[in-house]
């Protein structure tokens, strides 16, 4: 699934490690989500959306495979 996590993270000037600390996950999880290798669960997707103050559907595009 395509997502805008990297774009939103970089816009805030955060490293993957910083985002991982905000979400209480490992850096590899952030990396896997950004590269489309792993689709987050609904709770983690909501956590991301709240953190970036976005709507889930504006962050994740289920129709577009990466």
């Amino acid at each position: 699934m395509k997502n805008r996590v990297r774009q939103l993270r970089e816009a805030r000037g955060w490293s993957q490690g910083a985002l991982a600390e905000h979400l209480d996950v490992s850096r590899q999880t952030v990396n896997a989500i950004e590269n489309g290798k792993y689709d987050p669960s609904l709770p983690l997707a909501f956590k991301l959306a709240r953190l970036f103050k976005q709507r889930i559907e504006s962050m994740f595009d289920p129709d577009e495979e990466r």
């Binding site: 993957q16 490690g17 991982a20 209480d24 996950v25 490992s26 850096r27 590899q28 999880t29 952030v30 990396n31 896997a32 290798k37 792993y38 987050p40 669960s41 983690l44």
Partner: protein, 202 residues
């Protein structure tokens, strides 16, 4: 970022320093293990146990650092639970388990040979707690690794069993049963490491 004692966090060290520390941890761990089982002297064994502790700690921190990861609370809790239990197991295997040969009382013998299993039960509980506290991707990796470990060790046991049944090889049954858990842990650890390496952050 600067950590405790003004030292930069290990995941921010240059690559060669992180890998160098990892290799140092491996050497310290393997060397201490060898010294521990190759010598009888109490003094040298205590030194080896300390070396083993330090080696394991360095290895744990460096293993995460080479993957560009930082030790999290969940990792530190796991190390704090597993390290003492592992040391108790080694001490029991070295000093309690051999006492069983000196007794003829069945129940006492059973207690002495089973005592080293107690810290391993605690380790198993710590592993379950650790996996439950990992994030969702890590839990999936652990599950996949555990599945692969069961298949690999199960198949290897079946192949060895078939060869032994046909009397083509001789397998020490007791030793084979003791080695099942370490074999499962080894394959599980290797698959987990490979999976984490593939997804490592850059």
């Amino acid at each position: 970022m600067v950590g405790t004692w003004g030292i930069r966090k290990m995941d921010e060290w240059p690559t060669w320093q992180r890998w160098g520390t990892w290799l140092l941890g491996c050497a310290l761990y393997a060397g201490s293990f060898w010294v521990l089982f190759a010598n009888d002297g109490l003094g040298i064994r205590v030194v080896a146990l300390v070396g083993l502790c330090v080696g394991l700690l360095v290895l744990t921190y460096a293993s995460r650092a080479v993957l560009n990861e930082r030790m999290r609370t969940v990792d530190r809790r796991y190390v704090r639970a597993v390290l003492p239990a592992f040391l108790v197991y080694i001490v029991m295997a070295l000093y309690v388990w051999p006492l069983a040969d000196r007794t003829t009382t069945h129940w006492l013998k059973a207690v002495l040979v089973l005592l080293p299993a107690l810290p391993m039960v605690y380790v198993a509980w710590a592993v379950i707690r650790y996996v439950n506290r990992c994030d969702e991707l890590e839990r999936r990796q652990q599950l996949e690794a555990a599945g692969i470990a069961v298949v690999v060790v199960g198949l290897a046991s079946m192949v060895l069993g078939l060869l032994a049944a046909a009397r083509l090889i001789h397998v020490n049954g007791a030793l084979a049963l003791i080695l099942v858990l370490p074999a499962l842990c080894c394959v599980w650890g290797m698959v987990c490491s490979w999976s984490k390496w593939r997804n490592r952050a850059r």
